[in-house]
Subunit: 483 residues, 2 copies
Amino acid sequence: MMPRIDRRDFVRGVALAGLAAEAKGDDKITPVQAAAEAKDVTRRLAHYVVASKPEDVPKLVNKEAARTLLNWVGCAVGASRHESVEIAIGALAPFAGPAQATLLGRKERMDVLNAALVNGIASHIFDYDDTHLKTVIHPAGPVASAILALSEYRPVSGRDFVHALVLGVEVECRIGNAVYPAHYDAGWHITGTTGVFGSAAAVGKLLGLTDQQMTWALGIAATQPVGLKEMFGTMTKSFHPGRAAQNGLTAAMLASRNFTSSEQALEAKSGWANVLSTARDYTEITKMLGQTYEISLNTYKPYACGVVVHPAIDGCIQLRNQYNLTATQIERIDLRVHPLVLELTGKKTPQTGLEGKFSVYYAAAIALVEGAAGEKQFNDALVRDPGIVALRDRVTATVDPSVGEAQVKIAITLKDGRRLEKTVEKVIGSVENPMSDAALDVKFLDLTSGVLPLAQARKLLDLCWNAEMLPSAGEIAKAAALS
Amino acid sequence: MMPRIDRRDFVRGVALAGLAAEAKGDDKITPVQAAAEAKDVTRRLAHYVVASKPEDVPKLVNKEAARTLLNWVGCAVGASRHESVEIAIGALAPFAGPAQATLLGRKERMDVLNAALVNGIASHIFDYDDTHLKTVIHPAGPVASAILALSEYRPVSGRDFVHALVLGVEVECRIGNAVYPAHYDAGWHITGTTGVFGSAAAVGKLLGLTDQQMTWALGIAATQPVGLKEMFGTMTKSFHPGRAAQNGLTAAMLASRNFTSSEQALEAKSGWANVLSTARDYTEITKMLGQTYEISLNTYKPYACGVVVHPAIDGCIQLRNQYNLTATQIERIDLRVHPLVLELTGKKTPQTGLEGKFSVYYAAAIALVEGAAGEKQFNDALVRDPGIVALRDRVTATVDPSVGEAQVKIAITLKDGRRLEKTVEKVIGSVENPMSDAALDVKFLDLTSGVLPLAQARKLLDLCWNAEMLPSAGEIAKAAALS
């Protein structure tokens, strides 16, 4: 693999510069200013996407795009045999078009629109994909699913592909910033409702749309938002990023042939932001366009469960590795946690892998035993394993109001009387403490093992890291197909 | 053609019975009652659709379904060569599946999902399709587009087809009743946002879904609403019923294979009615299910323009026919109109067919000259015809607050000094004064002329009237194909 710039330099560079600039901004604007800010928002955003050139984007931003891409590919391949994927393929195959694009991790191919849908579904099933923490958008699903499928049908260089990925994420996250949290609180699954714009913009960029066409593409996207939060806990949740990818693709394809739409789809009285949110700040869409990049703020989950449990897992793995611990040495584990931890993951005796994700007790135990908490650690057999159950029952968790959401205080008492302590201040996987490139590699290989042969997975990983240099981005998709 | 029961008997029967029953209802309910009404709304609606049998539906309701169907087919065939349709086919054909279903009025065939989209688009282009006036939903587009395309792929009897059409319209209009007008006022194009449910329910019925699956189908539909009012005036408006048909089809197909979804998609806190509307009354969805039929309240436009101009056109045509008028006899035409008429259609010197739709002056003139105001009467050549322009310039329109929206007062002064007057109290095309079957035939043949040979159009019309008796409903689609 290529030498890489460490992500930490990156965070201290571009991303934090953007955050600092934002902190200086004045959040209080008058109605007159608000009207001025609203003017031509859709057109201005469309123009930015059309005018942006690959060379405008800093190298470190493209580096983050590679991290975003490989994390997304790993998740999609990893869940490619899930029941949700099987059902979607079975239901839609009779109506699908030519075998234009790869279904990641599978043998079948489908037309571009259906491949985008299926890969988008797969990538969200484990809830292990990337997160733009400011808005809780999972940015890659809608955008990468659309453009990777397209790139097998309409060849595109790796450079243009990565550029489109950056722009698509920029569009969806900026629109998300403009309406978060009101829009999310209203009940919308923001990944699907903003993802349509990200997909339309990225595909539109690759299709070479004009300003007018790109504006229409955003309009056709605006009228097809996907996703109510009510669907959480069902297969339909994963449907959202997939359908957003497909809707955005459709929007860009129609616009490329001059299917007309509104030219102020975002800001009009009956436009997207007014209809789908009780509050909005259009400056989030237009300020410093081309100067900051939302993909710089993207994060990746190190553990295959809700983020509230991550500090406990992080600390337990650190203690395990620091002291080379084994389960039999441990007398008891005492956790001091943020209140949400017990509210959301207080299940004492989980019986299935899925229930294990909602048990901080099981999560701490498996972290100590396996030194990991990937999708494989949350399976029925391990959750019921007598040794792990015995350790799990020696875990206590107490709410401590002084402990933040990204924090935990751990005390492990060993049978030999020693007491080991660990305080996690900034959990791994946050913007400030991102997963390292090496950790992303491990996550990727873990997700893809059992689906793709190891050699193929390594090659695929390498292609993702080097996406920008590929003559044809479609190679990534082809390398993810099961032969 | 078959002998038919006259529509007027029908209106005095089932539909008005439903209206009367409704008028007795108490609109003021307490929060406790509201919570009770909300309970299991989605499940109850799903159960009704699953349990309903063709023989449960009164004959007069099925008669109205035939009227709904033929009006929709006429509109779709009529607009089948419109630029919006050409673009949609061109953009999507490269990704489309097998040639399973007819594009009405065209030679090409597409897969079921794309055919539903394209036919749905076509049917709304002239804004000449059916209207459920209580909610301004255009009910046929989303439902008929979906099930007619399906019926060529999965054979279905005419009886079951008509039953599914009735049920689909019931579902979308009841959901519309529950949130209208708040939902529409918020900016949603209600045809696309409720149409997904209608399509899912009708397709789900034909697929034989269980209660559980139908509930999921409504859930998958709920998460894919289509349509912002901001798109009015662009091609994207017509996209809405088409996409709603396609999304509902997809929802039912996925649910038929047990793709899970919410089981309270309509009424949950983050469900469709709470997220997409500021007010809602769930009793509109559940009361008297199976006793009243919303399709009984469906109406059809006699003229191819906005309804505010219809009274003036109606009155002018009546005077023309009553006195056998010609343009040269007429000295002047004075209209007393509802205020909205000049607000929406006050254009004095229209230059194009489309502009003619927004000119009450042109509309009155063309009605007097042609005795009709179909799509063909709103073309550029007629709008610029010197004789018609001269007559148009002799029309005055004055706002009269005593004139209702469905009314007009007309005074025509002839060159021989006679003064002819006409007051329209209830415009043709309203629920109380519906288009006759014969008028629907004329509209159908007018819409289809120039697209289909007359003999074929007559056969197609006959099939629509007799849909319920057909061994296979797909015959209707096949008869609408260009050979």
